[in-house]
């Protein structure tokens, strides 16, 4: 998995004095740098974007970086946002609701969750999957007291949105990742 450190991108593209992702101009510069990294990496590999050093994330930057990346590349690549704080989540939730999109986030403690616009069933199923690690639709159905068909439909919905991965009839979140500095697992 390709790991993208926003601190590094910010220093390379805008200024090494900034610790905040604010203004649309900054967001555009950061997104374009991410797009260059993704293009070098080739299509398809999932990418983890690390927010660990970002203090303030405003709506303009959240839209330019995450909203536009998901809109333009979400169909061909999965994204996971690492070290996302409650304040980051708030900005991301606002922006992604507007675009009817969702993304996997991992908080600083390593817990996985979804942010954005999603049916409640899909959100619950992802929560169960995040706890289990890997599970077949029947396992998820048992955990949540759902019918296997409902669980399977929710998992397929998540898969189509690039929010889970499927292997040999089982599903799992696009994780785990090592928390903190260092390369992604």
């Amino acid at each position: 998995m390709l790991r993208i450190d926003l601190k590094d991108i910010l220093q390379r593209t805008v200024s090494d004095e900034y610790g905040d992702l604010v203004t649309r101009r900054t967001g555009q510069a950061v997104r374009q740098a991410i797009e260059r990294d993704l293009a070098r990496d080739g299509d398809g590999r999932a990418a983890a974007i690390d927010f660990g050093t970002v203090r303030c994330l405003d709506l303009s930057c959240a839209d330019e970086i995450v909203g536009r990346l998901l809109r333009e590349q979400g169909a061909v690549r999965s994204f996971v946002l690492l070290n996302v704080t409650a304040a980051h989540r708030e900005a991301l939730q606002f922006v992604l609701e507007r675009h009817r999109l969702a993304v996997v986030v991992q908080d600083t403690g390593g817990a996985l969750d979804l942010v954005g616009a999603l049916p409640e069933a899909a959100r619950r199923v992802f929560g169960a999957l995040a706890q289990a690690g890997t599970a077949a639709p029947e396992d998820v159905a048992r955990r949540l007291d759902l019918s296997p068909d409902v669980a399977r439909a929710a998992l397929e919905d998540l898969l189509e949105r690039g929010l889970v991965v499927a292997h040999a009839g089982s599903y799992s979140p696009p994780a785990p990742y090592r928390v903190g500095p260092g390369p992604a697992v």
Binding site: Y18, R25, R55, R98
Partner: protein
Amino acid sequence: MTRVVEVPAHFDDRSFDQFADGVAAGGSERLLFDAHATQWASPYGLVGLLAAGQAQIERQRERPLLTLPADRDVAHYWARAGFFGHAAEYFELHGKVPRVAASSASDVLLEVTPVRGADDVHGVVDRIQERAAAILSRELGLEAQATMGFAMALSEACQNIVEHAGTLGWVAVQTYHWRRTLKRRVVVIAVADAGIGFRRSLEASQAKRYGERWSDGTALEAALVQGVSRFRDPGRGQGLAGIRRYLGRWSGKFAVRSGTARFTLVPPWDDDVPLAQGLAEFPGSQILMIIPAQDGGAGHAAH
């Protein structure tokens, strides 16, 4: 001829329309802004006064005069808030400017600061986080997440200038005890410019849709309620809507005045109207955000 525009004794968002009446009545005459009897000015008053002076200069009218507050404490506060450092550019000042450095005193969270471009917004957000976090949590009882939202709201309001005004604008942030209505501590963000305003910014994309109803009021509604932007990108137009949501959560007040109208998100503690139209014309746009101390904050009346 010089026409006198009286700066209200208590100069804030409530008395701003009276001030705007005076400015509009001045037409193309030289203006003398008379603040000698002014007893108090909020950040909204200070940045609004600068925008009034800026508008005169940018319309190539004669440099307006400004009579300083006679009250020494008031003039000192204006100096501490960084007002005079910029006022000399737009006004011929009459009265003794106090020799007081703009300070990081705890009540002035951000002195009057010009905003021209993205770099200025970065600077503003950087400074407010350094200075304000402790005060917002201790005095206003806002949790850490909310102080980050505060920086977000400030950033989006400043970007409104960068993206839409077509000229520079001003921002100031202060915290004070509001004895009149709320009887608790508040933090006030004021952002003002003398630019093109919402109606002209949105005219090309929206005026046709509204037909004869197109006005400063409908332009504000389009921007603030429907999240309309002059840009075609579907991600645009979220900034002001995001501010509304943030302030709504903290029972805050959010008001945007542009041209002859003012849109207000009215909190339970305020008696303003949601949309005021037919006000005196004032150039550009002026944004006000007030966040009151929450239950549990040191600035809450119960404490």
